[in-house]
């Protein structure tokens, strides 16, 4: 068949040379961003210790709190997401309805409003410490998004596999646990990684609950010293450094996971 060949060359002629995102030369956007960020984080405090070095000294416990909330929330959100994802493809009408309702409601309310709601509105009935409230709110919100990731991941496995598995004598639960989930895992992991970064950034919202995260610590410093420009520059750089490193780790993970597909 000759036609695919001619089609290919024609397409090649008209495609402008856009650099592929996979083309990891030395001068990639990521490398430049990382180098500039690190350089600024080191150079600014070195050249101007007051206020930059003071800001760097003030913020670290905030970084710890941010990580704590992120890791706890994402762990909880993955559990909620798995249950929701399974619930959304369940043939049980009732479970399916509950899971769908949860996703619809949570995705329709802004995270900031959810945080206020769980902390201040429900605070009258359930007295939980601020950190716990923050984690519950973040996990509750991201659980819904994660549920959709899991559902898509499970759906990406050809239904033929379910049929094959059932015909081999597996029941539905075994099919899911031994056949579908181990394969869906590879589709699910990269978006979960992206959600992790998104969640880390969104934890800056919990500063409104007076949780002493990176942003709250920075605002406290700025409110006292009036060094708004310097403080927020430093905060932006710290967040950027963290997300740049994490995004690289996730890109590496993605590469490893897609190993089998590349054969």
């Amino acid at each position: 068949m000759p036609e695919p060949k001619s089609f290919k060359t024609e397409a090649k002629d008209h495609t402008p040379p856009v650099p592929s995102p996979d083309n990891h030369g030395l001068i990639s956007a990521w490398t430049i961003a990382l180098c500039v960020t690190i350089a600024l984080i080191i150079l600014l405090p070195w050249m101007q210790p007051d206020p930059y070095l003071n800001i760097l000294r003030f913020i670290p416990d905030g970084i710890w709190v941010t990580f704590e909330i992120t890791v706890l929330s994402i762990s909880l959100a993955i559990v909620i997401g798995l249950l929701t994802g399974l619930g959304r493809i369940s043939s049980n009408r009732f479970i399916n309805l509950i899971a769908s309702l949860y996703v619809e409601v949570v995705r329709g309310i802004p995270l900031l409003v959810q945080l206020f709601y769980i902390y201040y509105a429900l605070g009258r009935f359930i007295r939980v410490p601020d950190l716990v409230a923050a984690v519950i709110a973040m996990a509750f919100c991201y659980g819904a998004y994660m549920g959709e990731v899991f559902r898509a991941g499970i759906k990406s496995i050809n239904y033929g596999q379910v049929e094959a598995s059932l015909s081999l004598g597996f029941n539905h639960r075994q099919t899911m646990v031994y056949v579908i989930l181990p394969q869906a895992w590879r589709t699910i992991m990269p978006p979960v990684g992206n959600e992790f970064i998104a969640l880390l950034k969104d934890t800056s919202l919990v500063s409104i609950l007076a949780v002493a995260d990176i942003l709250r610590r920075g605002r406290e410093y700025a409110a006292e010293s009036f060094n708004y420009f310097e403080t927020y520059t430093m905060i932006a750089l710290i967040y950027l450094l963290i997300t740049l490193i994490l995004s690289k780790l996730i890109a590496i993970m993605e590469l490893r996971l897609s190993y089998y597909e590349r054969r």
Partner: protein, 243 residues
């Protein structure tokens, strides 16, 4: 479009009767009852608002109040987004380095608000416990080096809410505000535990950008006139309930 807007603006300013008067834009964080807050009609009202309106009448300027979040209110002043801040700003040495202050228009103390059942009389009674205050206020600075775990809130009302549900042990803020919450709004659950001895007399002043002497002179003229006429006594009675 731009031309239209400009024409409209010109028209508006030319036929505005108060054009001859100087307009001074005041930023205020209207979450601080009874000094400045938003009432049910969505108007910014309070002691400080009435005071500045009276001062404007005396000195011949037209005050415009702009509701601004506390966190960043000083940054906005430095950037020239408004002419002055009247938002219960206590005059402190640190703040004087960053901005200029008018004559004081109110004297305050830092009050410690606790739950009804609490016996705390001082910050040292609350060592290791969580105590809240609004971010960047003198109340929050008073928590430093006292052994309590300081928590900074965006608004004082949120700190009060946390105190009411028992997440924190106390809140520190200016006494007029403390009175408003502990003796009126939440009188069934909160009380004023003590007036803190911070060692300095705290006075509210109007803040203007450093070097803005024209605006400062005008505001000072108004404040002094209001005080000389004794108008502030009536305002105290109206908003705080005592002279």
């Amino acid at each position: 479009m731009l031309l239209n807007l400009l024409a409209f603006f010109l028209f508006f300013t030319m036929f505005n009767p108060s054009y001859a008067e100087t307009t001074i834009v005041f930023a205020t964080d209207a979450t601080w009852p009874p000094m400045e807050f938003v009432d049910a009609q969505k108007q910014i009202v309070g002691y400080a608002i009435d005071f500045m309106t009276a001062a404007g009448k005396e000195a011949g300027f037209k005050p415009v109040f702009k509701n601004t979040a506390w966190d960043g209110i000083f940054a906005g002043l430095a950037d020239g987004k408004y002419d002055a801040i009247v938002s219960s700003v206590s005059i402190t040495e640190e703040r004087k380095k960053a901005m200029d202050f008018s004559e004081s228009y109110f004297t305050v103390h830092q009050a410690l608000i606790v739950a009804k059942g609490s016996t705390a009389k001082n910050l040292s009674d609350l060592k290791g416990q969580k105590v809240g205050a609004q971010i960047g206020t003198t109340g929050y600075f008073a928590l430093k080096d006292t052994g309590v775990e300081a928590k900074s809130y965006d608004e004082i009302g949120l700190a009060m809410e946390d105190l009411r549900v028992g997440r924190i042990a106390a809140v520190v803020c200016d006494d007029p505000v403390a009175t408003n919450y502990a003796l009126h709004k939440y009188k069934e659950s909160l009380k004023i535990g003590a007036i803190l001895e911070t060692g300095v007399v705290e006075k509210y002043g109007v803040a203007v950008a450093k070097g803005n002497t024209v605006t400062l002179a005008l505001i000072n003229k108004g404040i002094i006139a209001v005080k000389a006429k004794g108008l502030n006594k009536g305002l105290k009675k109206k908003w705080i309930g005592q002279e």
